[in-house]
């Protein structure tokens, strides 16, 4: 009797599946809440955990990152960061949509590259300069 039950879906299985899905949704909303909907200003590129460079999201540019594993061309255009080109094995980073909001990331696992958008202090600097000029 007990042996037979092992091969039939039980209530506990469904409960487990629903619990994991609810937990995932809660984690998802936690991340959204933590990041807020703030508009990002700064693009931070890091390679293997070390910061490679910080760039303004407002200036259109193409950054060529050379790592030991290969190259990545990161494009900043009209406030959107996009992986233009890379010679990594899976190309998930290139196929990913562009990012523009605070907390959004593009990760290139094979090359250990993380592109992250942060609030930055580009805007506050500008307002400070404006204040001084006034």
């Amino acid at each position: 009797m007990k042996e037979k039950n092992i091969f039939r879906i039980r209530f506990t299985d469904i409960f487990l599946a629903v619990a994991i899905i609810i937990l995932s949704i809660l984690i998802f909303f936690y991340f959204i809440k933590r990041n807020g909907y703030a508009i990002g200003n700064e693009v931070i590129i890091s390679v293997a955990g070390k910061e490679y460079g910080k760039y303004s999201l407002k200036e259109d540019t193409v950054i060529n990152v050379e790592t030991d594993d290969g190259y990545n061309h990161i494009e900043i255009k009209n406030g959107i960061v996009h992986m233009q080109e890379a010679d990594c094995t899976d190309l998930y980073c290139v196929n990913q949509k562009g990012i523009s909001k605070k907390g959004e990331t593009i990760v290139c696992l094979p090359h250990k590259i993380v592109i992250e958008i942060s609030e930055g202090n580009v805007d506050t600097e500008e307002t400070e300069i404006d204040a001084v000029a006034k």
Binding site: R10, L16, A17, S24, I25
Partner: protein, 167 residues
């Protein structure tokens, strides 16, 4: 003993074929980084058909051989962490006797995905990858359910054939 070696060999071979199939035709449901984990079908089935020691041997052999054949050094790190964590969690959940094959398969897939995130965080030295946790957990529920469903239909046939042949 000879029978045990033959069974382990057959299971490893089958898991390798599944790994190969997934390497050439990725079932990623349109979401990059997500895969069905067909090889896990062999491990889940093995958990109910063989003893735990043999399943551990099968899992490790499959990971090392498929890593050598279809992967690289880095993918081996992901495979080992994923394979071992999911196996340990599946054995714990199976021993509670609360869940069926489907439930055990679901936790296996979910913890496999969680360990991939942990491994990625270590490899690229950043915690930002945890953002992918919710989507990978939900994907694990889906793929784990499918694998568990197939396994729970396969196991009664396997066990029936086994007793008919050898007893």
């Amino acid at each position: 003993m000879a029978r045990r070696v033959a069974t382990v060999g057959a299971f490893v071979a089958l898991a390798l074929i599944f790994s190969y199939v997934e390497a050439i035709i990725p079932f990623n449901f349109g979401i990059p980084g997500i895969k069905l984990g067909l090889a896990n079908l062999v491990i889940v089935t093995g958990l109910y058909f063989l003893n735990y020691k043999d399943v551990c041997i099968i899992s490790l052999l499959r990971i090392f051989i498929s890593g050598l054949l279809f992967g690289n050094g880095l993918s081996l790190i992901y495979s080992i962490s994923g394979g071992l964590l999911s196996l340990i969690v599946m054995i714990i959940f199976k021993k509670t006797n609360i869940f069926s094959v489907v439930g055990v398969s679901i936790v296996g897939a979910v913890f496999h995905n969680i360990s991939q995130i942990i491994a990625a965080a270590f490899v690229i030295q950043t915690s930002v990858v945890v953002i992918y946790l919710p989507i990978l957990m939900i994907a694990g529920v889906g793929t784990g359910f499918l694998i568990g469903f197939i396994s729970s239909n396969l196991l009664p046939i396997l066990i029936k054939q086994n007793t008919r042949q050898f007893h």
